[in-house]
Structures are given as structure tokens and as C-alpha cells.
């Protein structure tokens, strides 16, 4: 740094003034850098036109889908999911793949008793296929509802709370596109965990045990039935979860309300069954209706006394009511004012 612009009175620097060897009676002051800083222009504002082409409808819809799904995998740039939410979903995914690990261990064992035990517990059969998508605590009563609650919380309620519905509807995004893409995003995330883990479970059993075409032909109908049951779980949970998300401004409401619906109806039906020995009230419980339909699809003994038709109608009615509520609430999302 040159000395230009630095005016040191009495030829003393600031250091000398503080620690110098003067007698203390002299005028001890130093003025450093007396020049004013030069003010520059911060930026030059100029409007730049853009002459690119806008993509068609599917490009806009894919943007919505990608925004909501990619957020689970990437920290920034897309919809923000709390790290704990992402971690919990990852744990649920690992948990749902636990039977794959057990099948792998069974394939390593040469002990006949162990192989038989592992095969009964985790091998491919009607009960285990049903159990992979709908049964066996805690997967049926903890993992899938918790997964749904974490994904749907804030999916629509955040738009209502933050006013971001205006971002969508002031652009050429229709309410149908908006609802369909949100629905698809949730369904794909749930499907990724529930259906994909089911698929991996089935295929890994074939690979680890070295099964052939005959086994595949034998078990494929069971697998497809379980797949249909899994898709029904995804659709029904998505419908209920999004409907609850659309009626509120709070992401916690949607999550808690979903868990309450699943657990509350099941608990109520269980109490009634215990007291009055009738399972009819299970038609109010979305989980039990799905479980009943799943048992029917996979051809295993039903846990319920009431006819299967009641559960099928109930699943359809629950989905119809939730989609109707969802569309009605999305219609009320405002652009100019919320």
C-alpha cells in the first residue's frame, strides 16, 4: 500500500502513538487513511428479453412431479423435505427390505432345519406375499401409515399456507394437472417403497433360491394378486392423505389426521368386535378394508366375518369421497387472495 492518501500527523503511525517511546506530553494522535472511499455503481440494471420456446403441457406437469419427488433425494433445488423425514423414509425402506436379507441368509445356510424355518418365515407363499404389503405388525400399522403421513404432510397445505397456489394457477397449470401431479408424486413415492420393496422381495426369492420357470409360473398369480393389493394400498392411502392435506394449512394436521384416521377407525372397530363379537365396523377402517380385500385377492383365510363385498364397496367409497374432497378443496385455492 502506498503512502498516498495516508496522512500521519507528526510522522507517527497508530502503533507508535499507542506504544511509542515519547514523553507523553506531545500531541499523540494519528489520522490514518483520510481519503474517502470511492463509491462505485453496484450493478447496471438492464432488461434482457428471452426468446426461447415454451414447452407443452407435459413439460409443465413433469416439472411439478419432479419438484415433489426429487426433493426426497436432493437437498436443494426442489421441494424441501426435512432431513429427519428423509432419514425416516430411508429407514422404512430398509425395514421393508428386511425379508430380502433373511432370504439371503437362508440361501447361505446348509442346515435343513434353518432353511425350512427361514423358508416358512420369509419364503414366497400366499401369507408372506400378503404380509409384505398389508400384514404383520409393525409394517402394516406403523411403517406404511407413517410413510404416508410424512409424504403427504404439506403437499397441498403448504401451498395454502404460503400462497404458492398462485405460482401454479397464474401459469398455464390447470387444477386438474395440479391435483393429478401432486397425486402422482405421492403415489410414486409410496409405490417406490411399498410396491418396489414387494417386487424386490419376490424377485430376490427367485434369485437366491435359484428357482426356475416352473416356480415362476406357479407363483406369478399370487405375486400379481399381491401387487394389486399393494397398488390399492398406495391409491387409498394417497387419496386419504392428500384429502387431509388439502383441508388444512398445516403440514402437521395432515400427518396427524392421517394417522388418527388409520389408527382411530381400527381401534374403534377392534373395541366393538371385542365387546359385541361383530367385525362389521371394520368397514370404517381403511386399513382393514384393504387387508380384507388383499386376503380375498391372495386367497387366504379371512380374519373378518362380514362379506368381502362390504370391504370392496368401502374401499371404493373411501377413495371416491377423498378424491371428491380433494378436488373441491383444490378448486378453492385462490390466485389473487387466500
Amino acid at each position: 500500500m502506498s503512502d498516498d492518501g495516508i496522512d500521519i500527523e507528526g510522522h507517527k503511525t497508530r502503533m507508535e502513538v499507542a506504544y511509542g517511546a515519547g514523553d507523553g506530553d506531545d500531541e499523540a494522535k494519528a489520522v490514518v487513511a483520510s481519503n474517502d472511499a470511492e463509491l462505485g455503481s453496484i450493478f447496471e440494471q438492464s432488461y434482457r428479453p428471452w426468446d426461447g420456446e415454451l414447452g407443452p403441457r407435459w413439460v409443465r406437469n413433469y416439472a411439478i412431479f419432479r419438484h415433489h419427488v426429487y426433493g426426497l433425494f436432493r437437498g436443494t433445488g426442489h421441494r424441501h423435505y426435512h432431513p429427519m423425514v428423509r432419514l425416516t423414509i430411508f429407514v422404512i425402506l430398509l425395514f421393508s427390505l428386511l425379508p430380502v436379507l433373511m432370504l439371503f441368509l437362508a440361501s447361505l445356510s446348509s442346515d435343513g432345519f434353518m432353511t425350512d424355518f427361514f423358508s416358512r418365515m420369509w419364503g414366497i407363499n400366499r401369507h408372506n406375499l400378503w404380509g409384505q404389503v398389508l400384514g404383520y405388525f409393525p409394517r402394516n400399522l406403523c411403517c406404511w401409515p407413517l410413510l404416508t403421513a410424512l409424504v403427504v404432510g404439506g403437499m397441498i397445505s403448504d401451498d395454502r399456507k404460503n400462497g404458492t397456489s398462485a405460482i401454479y394457477f397464474s401459469r398455464p397449470v390447470t387444477r386438474l394437472d395440479y391435483t393429478a401431479m401432486k397425486y402422482l408424486s405421492v403415489a410414486v413415492v409410496l409405490g417406490f417403497i411399498i410396491v418396489l420393496s414387494y417386487f424386490v422381495y419376490y424377485t430376490s426369492a427367485i434369485v437366491f433360491n435359484g428357482e426356475g420357470w416352473a416356480y415362476l409360473v406357479d407363483t406369478l398369480p399370487m405375486f400379481v394378486s399381491g401387487l394389486v393389493a399393494g397398488i390399492l394400498v398406495v391409491i387409498t392411502y394417497t387419496s386419504i392423505g392428500l384429502a387431509l392435506s388439502s383441508i388444512s394449512r398445516s403440514r402437521f394436521f395432515a400427518a396427524i389426521a392421517f394417522l388418527s384416521v388409520i389408527y382411530g377407525t381400527k381401534l374403534l372397530a377392534l373395541l366393538i368386535e371385542t365387546q359385541f363379537d361383530t367385525s362389521i365396523l371394520y368397514v370404517l377402517s381403511p386399513y382393514d378394508c384393504l387387508a380384507h380385500v388383499g386376503q380375498w385377492l391372495l386367497g387366504i383365510d379371512s380374519n373378518y366375518d362380514h362379506p368381502i363385498a362390504f370391504s370392496i364397496v368401502s374401499v371404493l367409497a373411501i377413495n371416491a369421497a377423498c378424491v371428491a374432497l380433494l378436488t373441491a378443496r383444490v378448486s378453492s385455492l385462490e390466485v389473487t387472495r387466500e
Partner: protein, 332 residues
Amino acid sequence: MDGEGGSTPIITARSLGKMYGPHMALEDVNLEIPPGAVGVLGPNGAGKSTLFKCLLGLITTTSGEGTVLGYDIRTEGDKIRSRIGYMPEYDALDPGLSAIDQVRYAGELVGMNPAHATRRAHEVLQYVGLKDQRYRKIETYSTGMKQAAKLACALVHDPDVLICDEPTNGLDQKAREFMLQTLRRTVSEGNRSVLMSSHVMDDVQEVCERIVMIHKGRIVVQRRIEDLARQIEREIEISVWGGASRMQQELETRGFKVRRLGRVLRVDRVDDGTTRKVLEAAVSADVQVRQMKEYEPDLEDIFLLIMERLGAEVRGTSDLMTTAHTGGDRDE
């Protein structure tokens, strides 16, 4: 079809009506808006938001027809919204996103591919003055920065028409000036049209050359501000030192209608001789005239005059404002 001034109107409406149940929100709206900056004025509940929604093709009109950029508002809403940028009045940003991601996503929602949207997001964020803050999360933004981010979202696809709903809501003086300068530049340099609603007449006057005034769902005025100002009776404003009451009395004796605020008096400018008569009155009343000038009516005067003629009880445009407009610092 050519509008006033020979340019093709960007917005037209013929007998447009909108009813919400029994409530008439818009009634017999006839509009012809040429390119440029236009202010949409009106008290709360006058129908401004409903008009915007109709123009964006978001709600079906009950009667009449209209076009925006040549597209029918009843059937081609998606095409209209592709070429319009809308800046909402209220918060419309995801607080968990950074500004660059929010603006990029806004671009993608119009149909821009992600690479183009990202590049354009950088450009518009620089344009609205958020270049250095574009990677910050929106939840950390001040009100002014949020308004700028909303403007960037509206501009990302370079729309032909920018609709701004109360763009200076809650902004401090510096941020307000920058916002208005940006809107002016968008019109003058970008050659884009701006449709802006505001309760602050100064803001509208600074940006717009025309106004559309809505009252109880009807268009009561759509003219150039200059033309409207010319229609208002010219006044001469006189500042006196001492004896303001004597001066007022003297002027009234000479047949002037006087409006007085403290030592500032205003009289109608009848003809070129009015100034001389005022000075003669000052001599007679023995008062010093410190300043005398022709008073230029501003948009506030025009607005109040029109409201007065419509019978609306509005003393000033501040009566139309809520805490949302003033940033929450106005005592109710």
C-alpha cells in the same frame, strides 16, 4: 382493431359481467387497454381482483367477452397465462426454497426447460436487484426482497404483459423507489406492458401513463392521466405570511371561491387575469405573498374527485389501505 394512439389494444372487454351467486362482482365492463403501463384503481371490493382473474382466464365470466393479447379469455386461458406474468399481492413464495430455485421452478411451470429456466432465473434476479442474495432461502428475506423475488417469478419467461397486484405493499422508501424504477424500466426498456393495481396514487402516477378506475364492479374511468388532469379545474396556490384570514376574506369579496389550509390558499384559475387579481387582493388585505404558483392536480386529486362524484366517502387514499399495504405499521 386499433386502440387509442393507433396501437393494437392488449386487452379488450365488451359488456363483461361476473356474478358470484346474487352478488354482481363485475358489471358491463368495457375495456380497451393499449400497450404501456396502466394503473388499475378502486376501493377495496371494487372488483379489481375479479377483473384480474377474468383476464387471466381463471374464472368463467357470466356475460360478455374479452381478449388478452388476442386470446379469448373464456376459452384460451392457458395461452393467456403463458404470455402473462402475474405478481400476486400476498406472499406466494416457498420459504424453504432459495430465490434461484423458486424463480427457476416458476419458469418451469410455464414450460421452460430446466436449463433455460435456471439461466433466465439468474438474469431476472440480477434485474430485480437480488443477484447477491439469490442463493439465500426465501424465509430469510425481508419484505422488499420477497416482493422483488415475486417480480422475478413473474418476469422469468419474459411475458408480454406483467400484472402486478400492489407491488409496493409494505416496502420502505428505498425499496419502493427501486421497485417502481424496475417496473418503469420494464415498460420503457423491455417494451413490455404493465397492468398495476395500487392504493398508493404516487406509485401509479410514477409508473403509469393511463388509469382504469373501478367502482362497485363498473369501469368508471379509463383515460390517460394527463387528459384527466387537464379536465380538473386549474387552481392557483398562494402562500401568504400573516393575515391569511384577511386575504381569504378579500378574495371572497372579489368573487373567488377559496380553499384554505393554514397559510396556503387555493383559488380557481378563471383566466389569465386571475394572478393579477390575486396580487391586488393581497395589496388590499396588506399581506405578503411569499409564493404563488399554478397548482398541478395529481392522481390523488383526480381519484378523490371521481370518488366524490360517485358519492363514495373517501377522504384520502390512505382510507383504502390496510396494514397489509403499509407493512403493518399503520395504526388502525
